[in-house]
């Protein structure tokens, strides 16, 4: 790692460099943005050929990316200062965030071939920062899933073992990072879709405070939960990307009109000062039954390392977390059944005529189109949500779920607050995913088993707090990556990043490199 301003020694294979080092190399003239973009496009072609290999990308925007990179090089040649600390660095964009000039599918047949007519605010901010967008990454359809197996375009595969899932819904973005196809990626997290893929691919992913990043131009799943966030292979890169995309946007009414927390400073502080004097809570309910032994061992080792580094570790109890999954799988289907009503076959996307003999009306066309255009998980959740919102069941299901949300928020308030017998924790920690990457097909026929992958991430989503996953190492029982989840109070991103950075520093000191750099060499058969 290099000091600010110094030109780093970049590895011969540029795809293995961090975003921070690539940006410094480009700003210092060691390498051009076009060379960096081309190296990543070559890597994508090698490991992601069509739908074989990793299959992280649904669409690669080679020409657009090289144009954006050339513009960064031209600006530098003209003597202009870099547009941001990430100018010229390539990024993989989850295909639920719209970008003009690239098709947007949200992983669904119903949007196949749709070209969005505008840019998301996140896209605009990335382009203004000089970030080079390589393409759109695979996801579970409309971000509903934990494995990318619900993508209409086939699953992505985990670079640690191509027979295993890369997590979901943002498995494409996480796989792209772990396979060195991009050093940066954008994810969205509704119940864990940034953190669980990060955990099972050994990468870093952060869900900011609800409202921290604009959702204008992000295809909606569950509006009271959806949040956009940064993903990368190092904590510093994640923080740099966080600062590029976060901040108030008048086009998103849920966007928080507050300054963005200084997360890059927090990362430097974590490196310099570690966690000495911080109070870290271990959530009793996020462990035990349902958690793989190798995951729990890695988690306990991480907590011991933080304690040895001077953090005060306390156990906290959040008794209502056990109802989190149930509440989530009522709130999410309810909101998504409403949000997905916009796919009516009239204004964009697929249109399918009803079967011969049926009358052709707006209603029958809409019904036939949605029947043909939506996949199984989306249909399940639309029906479940329609049920939970229907007269007579609303109070028992949706209403009760919203009350559970209040109780879970109360548990967090107790854990973070110091008053009234609160535990006064700076952050809370848990495993980010209860298991390491499972095999493709293993859980695809059992929706409830699939939902359990979100066990540890859902409470933070329901409470709207920031939470991230940073690799804690490899599980002894499977040899696959494990994620450490760090949760902080609303707008408390600085404490979260400080702990993540301190932990990453401790891990490198002990193991010699970060987890992503220890991934086995990827072999893709032609």
């Amino acid at each position: 790692m290099t000091a600010a301003g110094a030109t780093p020694d970049l590895p011969a294979d540029l795809t293995r460099a961090s975003a921070a080092d690539l940006a410094a190399g480009i700003a210092g003239g060691t390498v051009s943005a076009v060379e960096v973009a081309q190296a990543h496009l070559d890597r994508i072609a090698a490991v992601d050929p069509g739908d074989r290999g990793v299959h992280a990308f649904l669409h690669v925007s080679g020409d657009l990316a090289l144009e954006q990179a050339a513009a960064v090089d031209a600006a530098r040649a003209a003597g202009r200062t870099a547009a941001s600390p990430l100018a010229g660095v390539p990024l993989a964009l989850k295909d639920i965030v719209v970008q003009q000039g690239a098709p947007a599918t949200a992983g669904s047949r119903i949007l196949e071939g749709w070209m969005p007519p505008y840019d998301a605010t996140v896209t605009t901010r990335l382009l203004e920062a000089g970030v080079v967008i390589l393409g759109k990454t695979n996801l579970d359809e409309f971000a509903m899933g934990s494995s990318t197996e619900n993508s209409a375009y086939g699953p992505s595969r985990n670079p640690w073992d191509l027979d295993r899932i890369p997590g979901g819904s943002g498995g494409g973005s996480a796989a792209a990072l772990a396979a060195f196809e991009a050093p940066l990626a954008i994810g969205t997290d509704t119940g864990g879709s940034i953190r669980q893929p990060a955990a099972v691919t050994g990468t870093v992913g952060a869900k900011p405070t609800y409202g921290g990043v604009s959702r204008y131009g992000v295809i909606a799943l569950a509006s009271s939960l959806d949040q956009v966030g940064p993903c990368a292979r190092t904590v510093l890169d994640t923080a740099l990307l966080h600062e590029v995309i976060a901040g108030h946007d008048p086009r998103d009414s849920t966007s928080i009109p507050e300054p963005v927390p200084s997360v890059v400073d927090a990362v430097h502080r974590g490196r310099a000062d570690g966690v000495a004097g911080m109070r870290i809570g271990v959530v009793r309910e996020l462990g035990g039954e349902g958690y793989q032994p190798g995951v729990l061992d890695s988690f306990r080792a991480a907590v011991a390392a933080l304690e040895a580094a001077g953090a005060e570790i306390v156990e906290v109890s959040c008794p209502h977390f056990r109802y989190g999954l149930a509440a989530y799988y009522l709130i999410l289907p309810s909101e998504c059944s409403s949000n997905l009503a916009r796919f009516d076959a009239m204004r964009y996307g697929l249109r399918v005529e009803p079967a011969a003999g049926q009358p052709v009306s707006a209603e029958t066309v809409m019904s036939a189109t949605r029947g043909a255009g939506f996949g199984a998980e989306v249909k399940r959740r639309i029906i479940l949500g329609t049920y939970a919102l229907s007269a007579g069941y609303y109070d028992a299901y949706y209403g009760s779920a919203q009350k559970v949300r209040t109780l879970i928020k109360g548990d967090f308030d107790q854990a973070f607050g110091a008053a009234g017998g609160g535990a006064g924790c700076d952050v809370l920690v848990s495993p980010a995913s209860p298991v390491t990457a499972f095999r493709l097909g293993e859980k695809v026929d059992d929706p409830l088993a699939m939902y359990l992958n979100d066990l540890a991430t859902i409470p933070g989503s329901l409470a709207g707090i920031p939470a991230m996953s940073v690799p804690s190492g490899l599980a002894a029982d499977t040899g696959l990556p494990v994620g450490l989840q760090i949760m902080a109070p609303a707008l408390g991103e600085a404490a979260m990043y400080r702990v993540a950075s301190a932990f990453e520093t401790l891990y490198v000191a002990e193991h010699g490199s970060t987890v992503p750099l220890s991934v086995p060499e990827l072999v893709v058969n032609p």
Binding site: P117, S224, S361, S367, Y393, V404
Partner: protein
């Protein structure tokens, strides 16, 4: 649909699933109806746990972060052009979305 007042979690029937799919304008095959009936029954059994702790005096949370309604200044600003708005439509004609018949013959 089954009478909601009879039990806390009435069993879902195949007709219920068909009715819900109709409300959601979602055409399902017979195979899908059978599959979703089984799966939704299992899921509903599981999520019904929320009723155990949802006491009457608990205030529901709709959004995790307090929100106030936001309005912008009433100033003209460019929107999508007509061509851009129509570019993704399944069918367009004379600068408008072309849609199937909406009202019945007798209306």
């Amino acid at each position: 649909m089954t009478d909601p007042s009879s039990t806390a979690a009435p069993a879902l029937t195949r007709d219920d699933v068909a009715h819900l799919a109709h409300l959601a304008r979602l055409e399902l095959t017979d195979t899908e109806l059978d599959l979703y009936l089984d799966q939704l029954t299992v899921i509903l059994d599981s999520v019904a746990a929320v009723t155990e702790v949802a006491a009457a005096d608990i205030v529901p949370t709709t959004h995790a972060v307090p929100l106030t309604n936001v309005s912008r200044a009433d100033v003209l600003r460019p929107g999508l052009s007509r061509d851009a708005a129509l570019a993704g439509a399944p069918a367009a004609e004379d600068g408008q979305f072309r849609v199937p018949q909406i009202l019945g013959e007798e209306q």
